[in-house]
């Protein structure tokens, strides 16, 4: 189960809406081992594409170095799908490389209501999990 604050959910959705129709991506870091997402870090989608996202390689190095220095890990890795449902694609599954992270997908295909879902992706297996939002 992903337990996450309402303001962080809102921040992810706002980022996804802002970058629509391109996919938006980012991380919510938290203390290592805590499983608590705390620090919202929107990332640039270096691919600037409506069907693909990738963190810029230098931004990625800086992000991991900063998390290391602060004893954090990527508790949530999020990205948006802008024309399809918030479910991991084959591409998402094959490149998922953080077995301890919650992979959050947001769909912005509906202008009125964003779909917000969370998954574990481990060794190519996808498991959807419940999202508990703290207000």
């Amino acid at each position: 189960m992903l337990t996450i604050r309402r303001d962080l959910v809102d921040a992810i959705i706002a980022h996804a809406r802002k970058d629509h129709p391109d996919e938006a991506c980012g991380v919510i870091a938290g203390p290592a081992g805590s499983d608590e997402p705390e620090r919202f870090i929107p990332m640039l989608n270096a691919a600037r594409s409506p069907t693909f996202y990738e963190f810029d390689s230098m931004d990625l190095l800086q992000l991991y170095r900063e998390m290391d220095d602060r004893d954090e890990e990527p508790v949530v890795i999020y990205h948006s799908h802008t024309a399809t449902e918030a479910y991991p694609s084959r591409t998402d599954i094959s490149y998922a490389s953080e077995p301890n992270a919650h992979y959050v997908l947001v769909s912005t295909r509906d202008e009125g209501e964003a779909e917000f879902r969370s998954y574990r992706i481990v060794d190519g297996d996808v498991t959807e999990e419940e999202v508990k939002i703290l207000s």
Partner: protein
């Protein structure tokens, strides 16, 4: 003296859980061979058909080796090498830009 290599979480299964390992080699390619001799399986996760895998990033000091000389990038004693899987994906089922 050797080179320190930072290993990402997903590849620590090959290093008995170690976050950093020591290695040696004049080039990145030689360094990977040296690591493979003690951490069997690591090389295949980094290299495919003689090239660095598209969705694995390797940095020598602070430089992405794609902007240096790839696997031929020279390595010197005291350099620090970082391996990070790309964070990537998207709704495209197959057509992946740049792959």
């Amino acid at each position: 003296m050797a080179v320190e290599v930072r290993i990402p979480t997903i590849l620590r299964q090959y290093t008995s859980g170690a976050r950093t390992v020591a290695g040696k080699g004049d080039t990145l390619s030689a360094l990977v061979d040296d690591l493979e001799s003690r951490h069997a399986g690591l090389s295949e996760r980094l290299i495919e058909n003689g090239e660095l895998r598209r969705f694995v990033n390797v940095y020598v000091n602070d430089e992405d080796v794609r902007f240096l000389d790839g696997l031929k990038t020279p390595i010197a004693d005291g350099d620090s090498v970082t391996v990070l899987p790309a964070v990537a994906g998207g709704s495209a089922a197959q057509e992946v830009p740049g792959s």
